[in-house]
């Protein structure tokens, strides 16, 4: 299944793209698995995700924690802590 990954702020800048469609490999079950897999995809990803604990994640536009299962996610967004308001 194809999953759309969306990146914001410095996560987007470091990875070098604002969104991409990926085929998740077998075994990537949780948000934490996804972050680990993405880190292995190149220098930009490594730089963006070197401290995975600070990365905030939304699945289908709702906040989730890193233990969340990602099966069935159409859209997963990765971003830094928010600074609006």
């Amino acid at each position: 299944m194809t999953t759309r990954l969306i990146y914001f702020a410095w996560v987007r800048e470091r990875i070098g793209t604002s969104e991409e469609d990926v085929e998740l490999p077998v075994g990537i079950e949780t948000v934490a698995d996804l972050l680990r897999w993405l880190q292995s995809r190149g220098e930009g990803y490594e730089h963006a995700l070197q401290y995975p604990d600070v990365i905030r994640v939304a699945i289908n536009q709702e906040h989730v924690d890193h233990h969340e299962k990602i099966s069935g996610a159409r859209e997963i967004a990765l971003f830094p802590p928010m600074t609006g308001g």
Binding site: I6, F8, A9, W10, A58, Q61, E62, H63, A77, F79, P80, P81, M82, T83, G84, G85
Partner: protein, 158 residues
């Protein structure tokens, strides 16, 4: 209590008119006794800041602020609630965010506006980037631990 109110949430590039937003909630009604507004503006950081660039997550920004606003109207007896958040490039002195909470009595309006801002700061998907007067990129504004703590205090004593 009457039916739970549907809050108004707008995410927009253009500025807003605070007086018009208040009037929009109060016009033609006589049951509102208190209106609390909070406006967040762009500071110039002692003259060093040329502008803030606000990036947002379209779709989720509306949805998340909508969820926070819905929680507020369930928690406090409000007669009106409007939340507006701007995105794009914003110059010092310009508006960034507006919360207008209307209620029969002041306490609910104060508390709801305060809750909205505390939650919005740490949960609404917006990110600020600084542009400096000297032309350099100031970088992304860092999230504050105090903002996270401010949101957490609304969770206690349930």
């Amino acid at each position: 209590m009457s039916a739970v109110l549907a809050p108004t949430v707008r995410i927009q590039r253009q500025d807003f008119d605070v007086a018009a937003e208040i009037a929009g909630l109060t016009q033609g009604r006589a049951d509102i006794g208190a209106v609390v507004t909070f406006s967040g503006l762009c500071r110039d950081e002692q003259g060093a800041l040329a502008a803030l660039e606000l990036e947002h997550y379209p779709g989720m920004a509306e949805a998340e602020i909508g969820r926070i606003a819905t929680e507020a109207v369930q928690r406090w007896p409000l007669q009106g609630l409007t939340v507006i958040h701007r995105h794009g490039k914003i110059a010092p002195g310009e508006n960034i965010v507006l919360v207008v909470a209307a209620s029969a009595h002041r306490q609910a309006a104060f508390e709801a506006a305060n809750f909205l801002m505390d939650y919005l700061k740490s949960r609404a998907p917006f990110w600020k980037k600084e542009h400096r007067v000297d032309g350099s990129e100031g970088g992304w504004v860092e999230a504050k631990e105090t903002d996270v703590k401010a949101a957490q205090r609304w969770k206690s004593s349930e």
